[in-house]
Amino acid sequence: MSLKAALAVMMGFALAAAAPAVAQSSAALPVDDRASQVMTPSEVAMKWDSLVPGPGRSDRITGQVLILVRLDVSSWQGRQGRIYQRLAPQPGSPVVAHWTSQGPLLPGSVRDGERTLVYSGTLLTPRMEDTFRMTLEADGGRVVRPQNLDFTFEIELESAP
């Protein structure tokens, strides 16, 4: 095989690999949410669901927090995509977050280490804003010290620019 032929084959492979990525754009990209605000003091007060312990009684603790979500999606304005909210894993004590929203983002819930869809459709504006009223649930027996929960947003694009 000549050098010229070899180069042609290599380029062919490269193009074949790149084509599906452009068509599907399925790789999750981080969404800039630096403008989001947590409207709660430094630590969310967690209350026992059942103050009194006992057989068959819940050890769950819950707390509420208000989040002003501001997502910068200007890089993908006009395109179609799915936005997910992800909660980082909490190895010591599993956490579940439930939230309501006011739109355009969806209400939902997410377990730590997982993600949940909060938007699907055309990104009409450069910025998306919403208010999440979030309820956090954890095993009160296992949360033995304050625990940081990191929420991120990521987008999967469905259409080419």
């Binding site: 949410d33 209350k47 026992w48 707390g63 033995v144 929420f151």
Partner: protein, 216 residues
């Protein structure tokens, strides 16, 4: 060679860095909002005698509340038997039902004592139930009866086996009564008795015992 370094154009590294930055497809910095959750609130609850619960029983979602009542446990010793060393049963005035489910856990004249220690599962595994008692019961005339003349047994309707808050004899000062594991509900009913071991002057003898519940 140092001569080569001198010849290098100082602007080149800066141009390279700019080119790399521009080449990034989406300048999305790492970002996340962070929420910090606290631990479940530690709670200690102790009921001796009467108690208060709001919103129904515990099983119905009720919540314990403060109750400042001091219940009296008493006995009147007939003159004919004073000092005959036969225990005289004392009777209390406190409520007999458990706040867990309104079950009548104590018998007539018994004194209910129960509580719980709510905490995350860290090192503070137990709470200590104790009491503080004076050295004597004292009459208005200044006569005394040793506090050790007061004893109690422990039971509970429908219970089998050892009670979590056992029987005993009062001693002066601060004394331990039981160790309560975290996140467990305990309750017992105490039946008090006067030892009647000595002939004492007629009169009404009083003492106040204060129960304490503490966690590290």
């Amino acid at each position: 060679m140092s001569h080569d370094r001198t010849d290098a154009r100082p602007g080149r590294p800066i141009l390279t860095m700019l080119a790399l930055a521009l080449a990034l497809p989406h300048p999305s910095p790492a970002s996340a909002y962070q929420v910090t959750i606290g631990t479940g609130t530690r709670a200690l609850y102790l009921r001796v005698g009467d108690g208060t619960i709001t919103g129904g029983t515990y099983n119905a979602g009720g919540t314990p509340a403060a109750n400042t009542t001091v219940n009296l446990v008493s006995v009147t010793v007939p003159a004919a038997v004073v000092g005959n060393t036969v225990n005289q049963a004392m009777t209390g005035t406190g409520r007999l039902t458990s706040d867990l489910d309104n079950f009548v856990f104590c018998g007539a004249g018994q004194t209910y004592i129960g509580g719980f220690f709510r905490t995350p599962n860290n090192n503070a595994a137990t709470a200590t139930l104790g009491y503080n008692a004076p050295a004597t019961l004292t009459s208005a005339g200044g006569d005394n009866i040793p506090i050790s003349q007061i004893t109690w047994t422990s039971s509970g309707n429908g219970d089998t086996g050892a009670q979590p808050i056992p029987g005993g004899t009062f001693a002066a000062g601060t004394q331990p009564l039981a160790t309560i594991n975290r996140n467990t509900w305990v309750e017992s009913c105490h039946s008090f008795a006067y030892g009647n071991d000595a002939i004492v002057a007629a009169g009404t003898y009083n003492a106040r015992v204060t129960y304490t519940f503490a966690a590290p």
